[in-house]
């Protein structure tokens, strides 16, 4: 009797009304909420400081206790950043062009090629399928640093060192995107594919016209993940010509200055973080939808 009453009550949820959700106590809710708030502050504090320092004048940067919000908003830091940019002997637009080229080509390539590869793995049985997917899962278990030395040798052999392709091609072949795409595609109903096969559609058409439009959240996720990776890539040892370096490299050079440049460093960090963070905000729901199928067996 009391149980059914409880169940009915649980439909309304508000932490301050007496109608509690199933198995939730007010004390527990409050304690856990405060804990979440505390850790949330720990997580947000450095980011908030980065944003606010980027807009603080020099005399406010080293105040103690640090102010979460600037008293006199200024764009001085961004002006000194653009001054430093104009002093570099490679025009800054060149760095921007490199980043845009790497990001656009790499992201489009990854979404298309990884989806093409994910479709057979998700929806067909054929010799080699299990083996290939097992290797993909294993590849998630080690970081890319493990393969950096042989990658350098391979790229040196095929002449990719010091070309944008040294950044783009490994990114296209990265495995997290393929894994997520394949898991997501498994949800596409088999009936759709079977009926298209009976109607005489080729596998290529089924992939392009039936499967791809249905997995939009997954492409958005792949785009975001690869964008983040390419946006942050500084080219490392694979690119040494200054005119081929991406913007993250140029900005990290500026950020390497001493603590006196704290304002400029904050301005650089602000520019670097605002782009991926905005993209994530805009696509959060599609990304979460994709991750619903990310589970492993």
């Amino acid at each position: 009797m009391t149980r059914t009453k409880k169940l009915k009550k649980s439909t309304k949820q508000n932490i301050f009304t007496k109608k509690r959700k199933l198995n939730r106590s007010l004390v527990g809710d409050l304690v856990l909420f405060l804990m979440l708030l505390g850790f949330g502050f720990f997580s947000a504090f450095p980011l908030i400081m980065t944003v606010s320092n980027a807009f603080k004048p020099l005399d406010e940067l080293f105040l103690f206790p640090p102010k979460l919000l600037p008293r006199n908003l200024t764009t001085e830091n961004f002006r000194s950043l653009s001054e430093l940019m104009s002093q570099s002997w490679i025009p800054f637009s060149r760095y921007f062009f490199n980043t845009i080229f790497n990001t656009v080509v790499g992201t489009i390539g990854h979404v298309i090629l990884a989806s093409m590869c994910a479709y057979p793995l998700a929806k067909h049985k054929f010799p080699g399928r299990k083996l290939f997917f097992t290797i993909v899962v294993y590849s998630l278990m080690f970081a890319p640093q493990v393969t950096s030395t042989p990658n350098y040798i391979i790229m040196a052999r095929i002449g990719l060192i010091d070309t944008p392709w040294a950044i783009i091609l490994p990114a296209i072949g990265s495995s997290l995107g393929l894994y997520l795409m394949k898991q997501f595609m498994e949800q596409v109903p088999d009936d759709l594919i079977e009926s298209a096969t009976i109607d005489g559609a080729s596998e290529y058409r089924i992939f392009g016209q039936i499967v791809m439009p249905l997995v939009k959240p997954a492409w958005i996720t792949l785009i975001i993940l690869l964008f983040q990776r390419l946006w942050a890539n500084t080219g490392g040892t694979f690119i040494y010509s200054e005119e081929l370096k991406p913007v993250s490299y140029a900005l990290s050079q500026i950020a390497q200055g001493s603590i006196e440049r704290a304002g400029t460093i904050a301005a650089v960090s602000f520019v670097m973080m605002i782009v991926p963070v905005t993209m994530f905000i805009l696509s959060q729901s599609q990304i979460l939808e994709t991750f619903q199928t990310s589970g492993m067996k």
Binding site: S139, V146, T149, P150, E203, T237
Partner: protein, 317 residues
């Protein structure tokens, strides 16, 4: 064409006189369009991810500097690594300490936060997700920790401790051996709520709500019992995926060490296997030795993953 497809899907119609090899060739031929779709990605994946693992193993038995041909030297690199290279042993120790602390802690935090966030109203939920996830995608925003841990009185932490009289003079956090690893642990934890956190949030949405009601009828009385008996077993696939992501990144800590405590750090206090690998691979160009380090790292990463996976599979069994 359609006839053949039916034959493949229906084992009863399969001609019985084919040998297994003929059947295999038949299946391969049937699937040729699928292979065509897979080839472009598969080539890149094999070339830049799979082949390098084997190459690394092979090169680790040689002396190779990219200019001269590699010369075979057997297990010399490995012997030197474990018997003579004290810095490697330090880096191994640091890597394991960092991983053993940040791996499990970040994994549990990612899950707990996801679980708590899941009960918030929709908009608050999106905001909290962003707050916890943002550090991992904010590029070099972690440089803010340089100011927090700055060694003079302007550093936020020193300022705070000085003000409340907990220390008499500022502590040079980033250049004092005993503080290097704790600082790296804090920053890594801050950065570590990445894709696994998203997977957990998404996975919690998957849990069938009626199970909670059924559980309540079966005698589950509080949120902890509900978590242990219903939520965790339902989340197993995401938990396994999240573990892989978290283990791999906790063993690969390098960038924050280089940027915050320097490369090399004071007395190698922040040196990790990956920074050691970078030292030999990209500065000293002893590629054989670097490959031996990479191979050891590969074995540690895959070994840790398989071990943890075995443990996690038992949840709810």
């Amino acid at each position: 064409m359609e006839q053949k497809d039916v034959a493949v899907k229906n084992p009863q119609v399969k001609p019985k006189d084919r040998t297994r090899w003929q059947q295999f060739l038949h299946d391969v031929k049937q699937s040729r369009h699928l292979y065509v779709l897979m080839i472009p990605y598969a080539l890149l994946f094999l070339l830049f991810t799979v082949v390098p693992v084997f190459m690394s193993l092979g090169i680790s038995f040689t002396y190779y500097n990219l200019l001269q041909k590699p010369t075979f030297i057997g297990f010399d690199n490995y012997l030197k690594l474990f018997l003579e290279d004290d810095v490697f042993i330090i880096s191994l120790k640091n890597t394991l300490i960092l991983a053993i602390v940040t791996g499990p802690v970040s994994y549990i935090l990612a899950f707990v936060f996801a679980w708590l966030i899941n009960e918030l109203p929709k908009h608050l939920k999106s905001i909290m997700t962003l707050i916890f996830y943002a550090p991992s995608i904010s590029g070099n925003a972690f440089l803010m920790w340089l100011i927090i841990f700055s060694g003079d009185a302007h550093g936020y932490l020193n300022g705070f401790l000085l003000k409340y009289g907990m220390i008499d003079s500022p502590i040079i956090w980033l250049k004092t051996e005993q503080y290097v690893l704790p600082v790296l642990i804090i920053v890594q934890l801050w950065l570590s709520l990445g894709v696994s956190f998203l997977a957990f949030i998404a996975g919690l949405k998957n849990v069938d709500k009626t199970l909670y009601e059924a559980g309540a009828i079966d005698g589950i009385q509080n949120r902890w019992q509900e978590l242990w008996y219903i939520t965790l077993p339902q989340m197993k696939p995401q938990l396994l995926f999240g573990a892989v992501m978290q283990i791999t990144s906790s063993l690969a800590i390098a960038e924050i060490s280089i940027s915050l405590v320097g490369f090399p750090s004071v007395n190698y206090a922040g040196h990790t296997i990956v920074t050691h690998l970078m030292d030999f691979g990209t500065i000293q160009f002893d590629l054989g030795y670097a490959s031996a380090i990479a191979t050891v790292l590969f074995l540690i990463m895959v070994g840790a993953n398989l071990l943890v996976r075995k443990g996690l599979r038992r949840i709810g069994d």
